[in-house]
Symmetry: C2
Subunit: 328 residues, 2 copies
Amino acid sequence: MPTLSLGQAESLVADALTRCRTSRDNAVCVARALVAAEADGLKGHGLTRVPSYAAQARIGKVDGLAVPAIERPRPGAAMIDARNGFAYPALDAAIALLPEMARAAGIAGAAIRRSHHCGAAGHPVERLAEQGLIAVMFANTPAAIAPWGGSIPVFGTNPIAFACPLPGRAPAVIDLALSKVARGNILAAKQKGERIPQGWALDAAGQPTTDPDAALAGTMLPVGDAKGTALALMVELLAAGLTGANFAAEASSFLDAEGPPPGTGQLIIAIDPAAFGGSLARFGVLIASIESQPGARLPGTRRLAARRKAARDGLAVSDALWREIEAL
Amino acid sequence: MPTLSLGQAESLVADALTRCRTSRDNAVCVARALVAAEADGLKGHGLTRVPSYAAQARIGKVDGLAVPAIERPRPGAAMIDARNGFAYPALDAAIALLPEMARAAGIAGAAIRRSHHCGAAGHPVERLAEQGLIAVMFANTPAAIAPWGGSIPVFGTNPIAFACPLPGRAPAVIDLALSKVARGNILAAKQKGERIPQGWALDAAGQPTTDPDAALAGTMLPVGDAKGTALALMVELLAAGLTGANFAAEASSFLDAEGPPPGTGQLIIAIDPAAFGGSLARFGVLIASIESQPGARLPGTRRLAARRKAARDGLAVSDALWREIEAL
């Protein structure tokens, strides 16, 4: 199993994507995002995505040559058309615009449409928090969750990500999908020939199931039951309804090269704490009241530890994935 | 059991509060909010609050004479000091300011500090949505939920409320607290001498309990386990950290007349859909995909039905509560 430094991994991925109808700028941007997710231990958003991204770029389901188009119709509002390219260049555009807009207006939003898989949702908000802003991102994804009581999925797993700057240390980062577990857990159970626990998924008729095949043909259960579907509705309206993106049920898969572009959306809101009475010192008071409790830890702690280890030791890439990326 | 029209109920409550060191304007504002919650079937935020509000106003724990102070430091930012008065006059001030600010800047926020119980969290956002805006409110409440793995509560039940305008009908409204169940359910079990289900609460040592007394001395479990505590942390940082309000663990009870003012906070964000590419027609498409499914319904449907019934038939007030309010 080869071990690569983060820089080596970025070059490997960027070079591979450049050979798949993707501009050098976009390939570098995507490579950085995937390597950062891999380094944080978020393997589902990391290097495993390279082969499917490459296949989608080759066939044009994602336009690797797209340059995001930006409009700023109001002082606190940016509209970014990702033009059916990768999400990361559009997210980078939002991160470049929002700090100045949020400092001027107090709060600002960037709405991204015709977008794609946003990867580790904590990263864009974390980068804004590193610039002293509180940031929230809502993203929709292809259909996975049915409305409470229904059986047809109309919401994605719809992550909510949040980051808040802290005094003298890395920001607090929250990144959570609204399904109870990631779909990957069901795939893993299927591969091992195991049943899944009650409460993870419903079958196609909307009934609880412990059969991974029935679950994959059905819908994911939301975190927190009816409250989770309510939050998924909120995210769908913010990330897709507000931005002019495709709703979950209109979006093709992020994972294969079939069909039209997914065209999903993201909404990022950035807030200047100084404009509303907030202070880093006070944010730190709350964090201390959590970390001082035995057994409690701040969300995101594990990711930071993984990130430090990856920066020191590099990333171990499986032989199979290495060969697959090299072969592109 | 007397039945009152909504107008009669408002007069009854406003008159009672006016006799408890509360200005006429504030008493009318509070009465409207409590009657609207009662009419929506949200009894925990309705007329049952009158005696405890009155007791707090009498003793000065809530300042019934306070007039909210407003600053607008940036085009999209309002800071509202509720001055330890009731929350409702400050919420009304936010609702008066935000539409113009959101239309001009695309998005705007109002941060309320030194506030109190915000009542039915869906109502302020619904009123903004009735003016064509998408709105989100985050509110913190006195300590109830421990960080995941910990045993000391540092988050409130911290409601998230969201409303979105829809074409030709009332807005979609989401209003959810982040505890798995309301504390009132535990009080009800205690009164009936029943045990509570696993999963509602932890005892003071952070262990699961089915004993209502141990639960009341302990903490409420969040909706969705660790993801719920992460959301509660987000709300605490937005509603209190950002606004300069007291954190949950610093806040006195909303329910009794003991101690200093609670001093909690609320953050309301209002978004003009037209500034980001959203349209009522598209919001309606998503709503139709929910309502067309047998068994599925939109969040808030029950509240609207209760509201229609209350407008037609009036509110039934228990004899005990009626006498308690009359006696003020």
